[in-house]
């Protein structure tokens, strides 16, 4: 858009104010995590700590096994991400490149699962998992989330964009369907895999209700539940609580910033058509 100098400055200023408002809660939490207890309860409230009071972090780690929670979440989110990409890409490959009877009907059936809100079936899933005696285990956290229609749909879009000549040429050279999938189709759709991977990882890392239902012991609690526990148990120890929040946020913010470009491109590619 064409602008003159003064509108440019106004827009820059408005951007700065809005950006500051959005990022402020995170910066504030970080700042509080470095305040001494007396600074936290001071009135009027301080924006910045007087020094770097790292005691909050050691306290948080003493109050709750945060590293254990982080490891649990890392493990669960990683397996869920790999699982969704694997099952999603496999199914999407069949739906886009291969021909078979009932292809359309089965694809529609899978898309239908997007219409069923996950919170509406969570009780039945809980009853199944607890009926199998699987509560408080990694299987319980992981199994129901190993596939998603969102992943199937997006990977199908990615495979459909591969030139058809590629598949034909590979066929002529005697390349099997599976080899084509592994060594040609998958590498060529890396951007989509990357975007979906970051998205799935964040979703899984941030899950709350399901891990709350199926885990009871500290050994299997994930970070989100762990944070809630810290908050419930130590209601007024805001310093350590904020330190815990920052430790839990750090990996997801890092994953987001590293994968941001791919994530944005991949998420919007399928959905937006002018």
């Amino acid at each position: 858009m064409v602008q003159n100098k003064s509108t440019k400055w106004i827009l820059l200023a408005v951007n700065c104010v809005v950006a500051l408002c959005i990022v402020l809660p995170i910066l504030y939490a970080f700042s509080v995590s470095l305040m001494t207890p007396s600074e936290i309860f001071q009135y009027p409230p301080r924006l910045l700590p007087s020094g770097l009071y790292t005691q909050n972090y050691t306290d948080a780690l003493r109050m709750a096994p945060i590293f254990r929670f982080i490891l649990n979440s890392l493990f669960v989110a990683t397996v869920v991400t790999i699982g969704q990409l694997f099952t999603g890409a496999l199914a999407a490959y069949a739906f886009s490149i291969l021909e078979f009877k009932g292809k359309k009907a089965i694809f529609m059936l899978m898309l239908c699962t997007m219409m069923i809100p996950s919170q509406a079936i969570i009780i039945a899933n809980y009853l199944t998992i607890s009926g199998l005696g699987m509560t408080d285990s990694y299987q319980a956290l992981i199994l129901p989330y190993l596939t998603s229609a969102f992943c199937v749909f997006n990977m199908r879009q990615a495979f459909l964009q591969l030139p058809t000549e590629l598949n034909e040429a590979a066929k002529i050279d005697g390349c099997s369907t599976f080899r084509f999938f592994i060594s040609i189709a998958l590498p060529l759709t890396k951007p989509s895999l990357g975007a979906l991977g970051v998205y799935t990882f964040l979703q899984s890392w941030n899950q709350y209700l399901w891990p709350l239902l199926v885990t009871d012991s500290k050994e299997y609690r994930t970070v989100q539940i762990g944070m809630g526990m810290l908050q419930n148990a130590e209601g007024n120890a805001f310093g350590p609580i904020m330190a815990g929040v920052i430790m839990v946020l750090a990996p997801s913010i890092l994953a987001f910033i590293l994968g941001q470009k791919q994530l944005v491109a991949g998420l919007t590619a399928g959905a937006v058509k002018g």
Partner: protein, 305 residues
């Protein structure tokens, strides 16, 4: 290129690769690719969905086993109960506010970050950052920000409001936190849509003397309406399913003022052990979301073309 591909497909040199001459393995091969996903969908989506429908017609033991068939009485007792109607009303109020403010915030940040000014890269990262923040983390940060005596929000605004402990403000406070978390996703989609609006439109509008607001009102909004509809659906579905914020910040209170439907399902199932009733609520939730989605698809067809 296209032609040669067609030629290869029908060329007589490769008869065994033709669709007509498939080996038995090639015939079943495609099904092997979809089996893992299909089995998982059956176990964890279709089966629980059927089970939810089934359980909603039964009363259950505290362990979740079926005790007897009760027909639609779970539904009638829900629909006549004051508490459940309140919870529906709260959910709708909550959802309306969340959807409106989330899309508005996404639109404002999208327009701001679409301008050619220095630092857009940084602004875009910041506007999409809330996507990475979990609802649990956001809730805990805001419990402190909202704190009635030492919280920074009252200090900055010069007010003395019990954000989470007054039944007038609690729902609105939870809405604010949810909107903050939703900005990221809404921003990303709206920015992408804005970038696909042809710049000539703005130029000719400028020539005719249209100002900043006029341009966005009469060019931007119509151009990005498909994306806005998409976001409307996503935001409605998500807001009807909010749970972590409520559980951590207000526990449905004070005085049931934030008792949204998913929180009510959770309470019925895991505190009152009435799984049948909870499943009936889940079924109602499913049909509400289904109806809203269908209505929006209808509307989209009518409005955007």
């Amino acid at each position: 290129m296209k032609k040669s591909a067609v030629a290869a497909k029908t060329s007589p040199q490769n008869p065994q690769k033709n669709a007509i001459h498939k080996t038995p393995f090639q015939k079943i091969e495609p099904y092997l690719y979809i089996t893992p996903a299909l089995i998982l969908f059956c176990c964890f989506v279709f089966f629980p969905f059927a089970k939810t429908l089934f359980l909603s017609l039964h009363s259950t033991t505290p362990k979740g086993e079926i005790s007897k068939f009760v027909g639609f009485s779970n539904f009638t007792s829900l629909l006549t109960s004051e508490a459940f109607r309140n919870s529906l009303f709260v959910t709708v109020k909550y959802s309306l506010m969340v959807v409106f403010f989330s899309i508005a915030a996404g639109f404002i940040t999208g327009v701001l970050a679409n301008e050619k000014i220095p630092g857009t890269g940084l602004f875009r990262t910041i506007y999409s950052l809330p996507m990475a923040i979990s609802s649990a983390a956001a809730s805990i940060i805001f419990i402190f920000v909202f704190h009635p005596s030492i919280g920074i929000l009252n200090y900055l605004l010069g007010t003395d409001i019990g954000w989470l402990i007054s039944d007038k403000w609690a729902l609105f406070s939870v809405v604010m936190v949810t909107v903050w978390m939703n900005i990221g996703l809404n921003f990303i989609f709206i920015l992408a849509a804005l970038q696909s609006v042809p710049p000539e439109l703005y130029e000719s509008a400028s020539l005719e003397g249209a100002g900043f607001f006029r341009k966005h009102l009469s060019i931007t909004l119509p151009c990005i309406s498909p994306t806005l509809f998409f976001l409307l659906i996503i935001n409605v579905i998500n807001s009807f399913q909010s749970f972590a914020q409520i559980n951590l910040m207000t526990k449905g209170g004070p005085g049931q003022s934030t008792y949204v439907i998913v929180y009510s399902i959770y309470q019925e199932a895991f505190f009152n052990n009435r799984f049948g009733l909870a499943c009936a609520e889940s079924v109602i939730l499913f049909f509400i979301i289904l109806a809203l989605t269908l209505v929006q698809f209808r509307l989209e067809k009518k409005v955007t073309y």
